[in-house]
């Protein structure tokens, strides 16, 4: 009986007992051994073996998920665990996680085992326009999110693709509870995007170009595009061949702004009294912005020469 009660109490204790430990944190770049980029661009940490021992004694649900808390700054994020190979008393965190928690290497981080609901929907916002350069966002994201267990609202995480780091912010998660976090392990997730930061401006610019280039009836009436094409062009010309021996159809595509590069543009012969404004639009360079900025840092200095110059002005 006593054994039973002991067992029960142990069991009982285990149920109530949580994994709640403080470790000194270090970025994953400081793991001894080979560099592991997929760890740095993921949502999983590396804990010491003792943590595994402790966790295995507890009745934890799988996958193991944790709260990471910087108590001093009162900042929280969440994540999973990748391996238990860290030195005792240490935890290795991806760099973006340390930034999110505003931790310095060697600071204390509180790691608490927790349960997190499966996510059904996330909304992400890339932090720069160059994310749009990726052709297949879906595949890239799918691949990158494999390294993540959780997504926390308003975190900015990093992914690596093609030697390029993309920062992505989590705008919204569903279901959204007080902790604003969902688990993304083995779940069907609807992913939505906000336009990247700076996208509006580039959109505006494109729109302007379209306005100036497309609108207008005189352009077609006088056949401006055709005239530009007639001009003598010193653009690179040539044909290509496919490996299978077929000819590549040459596409005579001339960017209208290239008219500037033509050595001898075609004449524009119109009757007197005709005014045409449909030239390709060229935006003014934004030079004066840099001129206006007085804080703009510039290298300055004076050179000296050992021998005084004989030339006098």
């Amino acid at each position: 009986f006593s054994m039973m009660s002991q067992l029960r109490s142990a069991f009982h204790n285990n149920v109530n007992q949580r994994f709640d430990t403080r470790y000194r944190c270090y970025p994953v770049a400081m793991i001894p051994g080979e560099e592991r980029p997929n760890v740095n661009y993921g949502g999983k940490v590396i804990l010491p073996p003792s943590a595994l021992e402790k966790l295995s004694r507890l009745n934890v649900s799988y996958p193991m998920l944790f709260d990471f808390e910087n108590e001093a700054a009162e900042k929280k994020t969440h994540g999973g665990v990748l391996e238990f190979i860290a030195e005792e008393g240490r935890v290795y965190l991806p760099y973006w996680m340390m930034t999110t928690l505003s931790l310095e290497p060697g600071d204390l981080v509180r790691v608490i085992n927790t349960d997190i609901a499966q996510g059904s929907y996330v909304k992400l916002q890339p932090q720069s326009v160059n994310f749009l350069d990726i052709t297949d966002h879906r595949a890239v994201l799918e691949n990158a999110l494999r390294n993540f267990s959780t997504l926390t609202k308003s975190d900015i995480f990093e992914i690596l693709y093609n030697d390029q780091v993309y920062q992505i912010k989590v705008i919204d998660v569903q279901p959204d509870d007080s902790r604003h976090v969902v688990s993304v392990v083995e779940t069907d997730l609807v992913v939505d995007f906000d336009p990247p930061i700076g996208y509006e401006e580039s959109l505006q610019k494109n729109k302007q170009q379209n306005i100036a280039g497309v609108q207008g009836t005189m352009v077609t009436k006088i056949g401006y595009d055709e005239l530009v094409r007639q001009g003598d062009s010193n653009l690179m010309k040539g044909t290509g061949t496919k490996l299978n021996g077929k000819e590549v159809a040459e596409v005579p595509k001339i960017n209208l702004l290239d008219v500037e590069k033509q050595e001898c543009p075609a004449p524009l012969i119109l009757p007197l009294g005709t005014y045409f404004f449909g030239y390709p639009y060229k935006a003014p360079s934004i030079e004066e912005d840099s001129k206006k900025d007085p804080n703009l840092f510039k290298f300055e200095g004076a050179g000296t020469s050992l021998r005084a110059s004989r030339k006098t002005n």
């Binding site: 306005i211 609108q215 007197l272 009294g273 005709t274 005014y275």
Partner: protein, 572 residues
């Protein structure tokens, strides 16, 4: 006895007997002294230098003694045209009076002066009377009293280079430039031996080449072929500044674009005044914009046949206005819904496209500037091209330009052609009808060095441009209180009676006091009825712009005006 003879061929002496006759004397002179170069009709014998003397052929058989000639006496021979010249020119009977021999070597001044007296614009005449000196106040370097003057504070010439640069005046004013050129050529304000200081450039092959070869294209020589064209910044501008008498003029012109998004073009009417911000400057004050028949498009505009040109000019003259230039919009909304427009014309693209420069050169050739300081009687043009487009901040702005004299000369010689690249003008190729001289342009390259480059086949349009400043007056005092041009469209859309009724409403006494007639378009509509004569129009114009009692009295006394009123009131 020995007699001495003085002539323009030098001194000579000959021995005679006192009993020889004068006829013998003349024969001896002709053969011995003048070597038979002259016929007796062209030589006369004079007692002294001043008198007319007697022609040899009239000399009689009087003896020398009887004629009172003594030993050693000096006589004068007045020589006319030598035989060789008479033979070559085969002219009319030789001159009988040799008193005033023809001076061949003296330059013929009358040929260089324009044959007709040049009537200049009044503004040019009044500016010529100004001294144009730039007054300076006393400086710290002056060591004299308040009424003294020294090198540091004496007034500067209007064309002073350092003053121009300090005040960031891009071009000299035309009259300042004229002073500068004229001070090198003539003594200014002295009419003796006047050489016209200005010459309009011409790049055509000279006709009637004096060196006697077959005319071009069969032959050409250095005398008749046009010299190399060097394109560079024109140092002067005929007009310095364009001023819109009130912002409403531009605003009502823009309304058409605002409503339709289509570009508009119009002729500007106004007058010229002295512009005081520049020494001896001229400003064009625009009082009205008239929109001639045109086809508007979003990306262009085409002028059409203008049947009313004479009438519009007549009304403008009646109002004391003249055509100053042309104005057109090149506006594209930037799509931001903030009322801003695209900045299309800037230093990286172009200011005036090659096509517009070509058109303006045509206008400037049509509207030449009469100038008595020029060999041809004309110099440059006062025709100004204004563009309404977006500036760097996306705001709507007016920019005004003229084509340089070299530009118009290139156009006249048919040497240039616009290209699809707005920033470049093409030089035409030489053929049977056109001789193309070398065209070079000079610019400062990235190393800060002056470089000359061949302008064939294309060169930057900016080398043909002269930039004007423009603005609005601080205290607007426009001639017309109303600039609404929409009345023309309203009038044209109705029938004859409706039109009269519309106009009659404007002739209400109170309405006139509020300036209902003070509108170029309204005056034009009245003139179109062709009831009023030229003088009546002028009277109406002065009454419309300034409804004073005196003007009203003047107008009411006119018969045709009463007819007009009667017709208008009958329509009500």
């Amino acid at each position: 006895m020995i007699l001495r003879f003085r002539s323009k061929r030098g001194m000579a002496r000959a021995e005679f007997q006192p009993t020889d006759t004068l006829a013998m004397l003349s024969a001896k002179i002709l053969s011995d002294i003048l070597k038979n170069d002259y016929s007796p009709e062209n030589v006369s014998l004079c007692q002294n230098e001043s008198d007319q003397g007697v022609i040899f052929s009239n000399l009689n058989d009087q003896t020398l003694q009887d004629a009172g000639l003594t030993h050693g006496q000096m006589l004068y021979l007045r020589l006319g045209t030598p035989n060789s010249d008479i033979a070559s020119s085969n002219n009319e009977p030789a001159l009988t009076v040799t008193g005033a021999p023809k001076q061949v070597s003296t330059p013929d001044v009358s040929e260089k002066k324009p044959s007709m007296p040049v009537i200049q614009d009044p503004i040019d005449d009044s500016l010529e009377k100004e001294d144009g000196l730039i007054r300076r106040s006393m400086t710290s370097l002056c060591r004299h009293g308040p009424k003294g003057m020294c090198d540091y504070c004496s007034p500067l010439e209007p064309y002073d280079e350092s003053y121009r640069q300090e005040n960031k005046i891009k071009h000299l004013s035309f009259h300042a430039y004229l002073r500068k050129i004229n001070s090198n050529v003539n003594k200014y304000a002295s009419s003796q031996s006047f050489i016209p200081p200005l010459e309009e450039p011409s790049f055509t092959v000279k006709e009637k080449c004096p060196s006697g070869h077959p005319p071009w294209p069969a032959g050409i020589c250095t005398k008749c072929q046009p010299s190399t064209v060097m394109l560079n910044l024109q140092p002067f501008r005929v007009i310095d500044h364009i001023e819109f008498a009130s912002p409403g003029i531009v605003d009502s012109f823009l309304n058409k674009w605002r409503q339709s998004g289509f570009q508009r073009i119009g002729y500007t009417y106004g007058h010229f005044e002295q512009y005081n911000n520049v020494p001896l400057g001229i400003k064009g004050v625009i009082e009205a914009i008239y929109e001639p028949p045109q086809v508007s498009e979003a990306d262009g505009v085409t002028l059409e046949e203008w049947a009313d040109e004479a009438l519009v000019e007549q009304v403008a003259t009646a109002c004391g206005l003249r055509r100053i230039g042309i104005i057109f919009t090149d506006l594209t909304d930037d799509g931001s819904n903030s009322g801003k427009v695209l900045c299309k014309r800037h230093s990286d693209s172009y200011f005036l496209s090659s096509l517009e420069v070509y058109n303006s050169a045509n206008f400037q050739t049509k509207f030449k500037n009469p100038c008595k300081w020029s060999r041809s009687g004309y110099f440059g043009s006062k025709f100004v091209t204004s563009v309404i487009s977006g500036n760097l901040n996306g705001e709507i702005e007016v920019m005004s330009y003229q084509v340089s004299n070299i530009g118009t000369a290139l156009y006249q010689a048919d040497l240039i052609q616009p290209s699809v690249d707005p920033d470049r003008m093409l030089v035409k190729k030489e053929d049977q009808t056109r001789y193309v001289p070398d065209v070079l342009y000079r610019y400062t390259d990235k190393y800060g060095k002056q470089v000359s480059e061949n302008a064939k086949p294309a060169f930057p349009v900016s080398f043909l441009l002269v930039t004007l400043t423009d603005g609005f007056p601080e205290k607007p005092d426009p001639l017309f209180s109303n600039n609404d041009t929409s009345i023309i469209t309203t009038l044209e859309s109705t029938d004859e009676t409706g039109r009269l009724r519309q106009l009659a409403k404007l002739f209400d006494h109170n309405a006139i006091a509020n300036g209902s007639l003070s509108n170029f378009s309204v005056l034009l509509a009245i003139a179109k009825l062709s009831i009023l004569g030229k003088d009546d129009l002028a009277a109406l114009a002065s009454y419309a712009t300034a409804p004073t009692e005196e003007n009203e009295k003047n107008l009411n006394s006119r018969e045709s005006y009463q007819t007009l009123l009667a017709i208008l009131y009958s329509s009500l």
